[in-house]
């Protein structure tokens, strides 16, 4: 999950399908998707139903729906990082080591290795958007309560099972949220809404890191040990219940909207054909590797960061959680801004490269210095926002539209597979070799991106410089032949 915000960033696919976007060379593309209107008599609303807040034809109704959409995944994002916020307490109360603790993250990712492909299919063909959202939200809620019950009864395997169930619902819920968003805001404020949803996801994660320790300390006044842990997680699950309520209400609003506006039920529009995978170019697979290589240096790191900050930087648990949350809170504000910058300038590859370099520098600062960790984590938040804004749209620039569903599904599947494996490996490294080796492990993954990127970045920069040289020489040397310039440019491209 790019709860891992991968799902939310994949919403950029839908964004591109309905709004103009730019590729690295500034070529725009337009696509259309979303619910279709049915022919028939216009529905006339009277009385309360015609009021602005109850009339789907009015803007206020859309924004009321937006409010519930924003909180649809709030519980999921809040509870996803509860292991990270309570890492030391989970290890103490449940008497598990770091490797076992890390399984709470990897078990979330394992079901999504497969579900990334079929989430849209389940919504389109089996459940429908409304029931699908409610079902997935229910799975998230159920998973969180099983997970917390495992704490209450001191059974770690039950906690692991709960995280697995939670994972089944989490990613698919994000897909459902995207579908709702496209359905309601296509052709209107879609870009802004996607940015807002992404920010809300980050807010959910941030609030988790800032509130779980105070909740745990409060519960500790009347409980002890694993019971304190379980009750704290149960209280965190209230956010999932809240999100479930939002899903139900949103379903009712959507139903009314469909009836009044005479719309078909929203669909994901994804067409997933596994056979398409065989035709994906090498650049797509490189993108997938880059994606997983970057995110394994972010999410497993944040999951284990709290104890690292406590031990190395002598921070208390509340401050450590605050440092861990910095990445998310900065991303909440920076993601829309970074998206705007990338949209305006293009050069996605270069921005990805810059983001990776900065992330590498942040990990180096955390590893080889005692600089206040707020600083590198803040920079990491900016780099993370930049990468997300630049990386995911690149898929749509190299994959044909009719294969995008499969492509994004594959990319997220690879991401989740990497997170599942690396999360557990990271825990093992901490137990056996400590945090210095773990940080170097993350930097190796980031260096791998740089290595793979070097040719693309160099090629991009050479192309850019070549264009400048050609234009200047044309002016200075009076070379009027446009075709000559194109010939030189294409020759370079073919030889590189």
């Amino acid at each position: 999950m790019e709860k891992s915000t991968g799902s939310h960033d994949s919403s950029l696919e839908e964004e591109r399908e309905v709004t103009p976007s730019t590729d690295v060379n500034g070529v725009t593309e337009h696509h259309e998707d979303g619910p279709t209107e049915q022919e028939g008599e216009e529905v006339v609303l009277t009385g309360c139903g015609a009021s602005a807040c109850c009339n789907p034809q009015r803007g206020l109704y859309r924004f009321i729906g937006l409010l519930f959409m924003c909180f649809l995944s709030f519980g999921s994002y809040f509870c996803y990082d509860t292991p990270g916020a309570l890492q030391d307490h989970i290890k103490e109360d449940m008497e598990v080591n770091t490797t076992q603790f890390a399984s709470l993250y990897s078990l979330y990712s394992w079901p999504n290795v497969v579900l990334c492909f079929i989430g849209g299919f389940l919504i389109d063909r089996i459940f429908g958007i409304r029931w699908g959202t409610i079902i997935f939200s229910s799975l998230v809620t159920l998973g969180q309560f099983i997970y917390s019950l495992g704490g209450i009864v001191d059974q770690f395997w039950l906690m692991q099972f709960g995280r697995f169930v939670f994972g089944i619902g989490g990613e698919s819920l994000a897909v459902a949220q995207n579908i709702y968003t496209v359905s309601w805001f296509k052709g209107k404020e879609l870009n802004t809404v996607f940015g807002l949803l992404l920010s809300m996801a980050r807010v959910g994660s941030t609030v988790n890191f800032l509130t779980m320790i105070p909740i745990y300390n409060w519960v500790n006044n009347f409980a002890d040990g694993y019971r304190t842990l379980g009750i704290s997680l149960m209280l965190a699950g209230i956010t999932c219940v809240f999100s479930l309520a939002c899903a139900i209400i949103l379903g009712l609003l959507d139903k009314r909207r469909s009836e009044v506006l005479r719309l078909d039920s929203a669909k994901s529009g994804e067409k997933v054909r596994l056979s398409d995978v065989l035709s994906f170019p090498l650049s797509f697979w490189l993108l997938s590797i880059i994606c997983v290589s970057y995110y394994v240096a972010i999410f497993p790191f944040i999951g284990l960061a709290k104890v690292f900050f406590m031990r190395k930087f002598d921070l208390d648990d509340t401050t450590s959680n605050a440092v861990s949350s910095i990445v998310y809170i900065i991303s909440a504000f920076a993601s829309p801004l970074m998206g705007f910058v990338v949209d305006r300038t293009g050069r996605n590859i270069l921005w990805v490269f810059i983001a990776v370099i900065f992330s590498l520098g942040c990990h180096a600062m955390l590893t080889f210095t005692f600089i206040n960790p707020f600083i590198p984590m803040s920079i990491l938040g900016l780099a993370y926002s930049l990468l997300a804004s630049a990386l995911w749209p690149m898929v749509s620039l190299i994959i044909p539209e009719h294969q995008l569903g499969t492509a994004y599904g594959m990319m997220q599947s690879v991401q989740n597979l990497g997170l599942a494996l690396i999360s557990m490996l990271a825990g093992l490294i901490v137990d056996k070799k400590g945090y210095l080796v773990l940080e170097i492990f993350y930097m190796v993954w980031l260096c791998d991106i740089c290595w793979r990127h070097r040719c693309e970045v160099l090629k991009q920069q050479v192309q850019h410089c070549l264009k400048i040289v050609i234009n200047v020489s044309t002016v200075l040397l009076g070379m009027p032949n446009q075709s000559f310039k194109i010939l030189i440019f294409n020759h370079y491209l073919s030889s590189s």
Partner: protein, 382 residues
Amino acid sequence: MLRWRLLLMVMAGMTTARNVSQPDVNPQCEGLPECEEPWLIHVVATGNNDSIHHLWGIHGAPSFLVVTTSLDTGLNVTWTDFIKFSPLSVTFDEKPIHIFGFSIPNLILFDDTDDSGTLDNSTEPYIVVPMTNFYWEIKEVFNESTRESAVLMETTKFQDKPLPMETKISFQIAAYGLEGRSTVLPHLLRTPNSAQFDMVLDHLVLNLNTTDDEILMEVKETTDISGFKKARWAMDLIIFSSEPLNEEEKGIEFSTEKSLDDENTPGVFHLDQITTKLARTTKQGGYMQWRPVSYLSSDRDINLSTDPNIDGNFTSLTEISIALEESLAYAVFGDKLESAMTAQTKVSFGQKKDKFYAAKTTPHGLLALDMDRHQRKLSPRW
């Protein structure tokens, strides 16, 4: 169990390799019934220019000394005086160049009502358990090469009553002739001038409030020790050195350093040490070094660990207790121990929310202390 590993080290010129003798238990002791029980263990690490005598005494207050002498200087023990706890009953052919060591006169059981893990002057209640109450035996002697010698000692009785099988204090002490790193956590660095000390408090559940014969509690699960519901163990620690003491200067000091590298001790970035004045100024002298971690399980998992907390405000030794009077330290220093360069402090084991010593089914505690000056040079700080 509570396990603490310490490295005891004295600087003695260049750290060239040394040949380490096998442990000699009760050297030169003959014809006395006391020779049957362990009083003194002697190991000699012979270098090119000098010899280091490792003296480990477990009678009275267990004492561990590192004595630097000129080459071929021998140890002399007047056993008839030694077993009567007479001063200066342990001497050398020539006056030693340098002596450095420490003693543990008492264990302290205290009720950590505020769950701080530390023992200070305001902590009450507490019970002082003199180490003279324990009887020891040598469980194992390790001497498979001329570069390393080690001894494992364990308690067998408390106040003349046998301890249950799972209840014991154990000391493992090793002397080394080569530079290297310990193979067990916390993987402390060692040199030919160092000795490594590993202390384990294993299932030490003692009913100290009773006056009848049922002192020892043979229980597997317990929530308190001797009526203390939040019981923790601590110990008195006395460090001494033969260096001249200038009253205006601090003799023995405690310091802590932070390291970027936790590879050898996962999750532990700090390094604590106690140094003498000579060690700080000329890099000659004695010091102790350890990673501030006490493992709570035999597999030394950092996830099951707690903190050893040392009171860094040292005071000089002003009175020689009975336990100290019966110790090897007194036999070597005599009454000069009071006026020598000394420091006494307390070390407690525990941290907030670690469920205290008597936790769940298996109270475990592990302490690791290592004393080695060379660790600072050989472990780059990046």
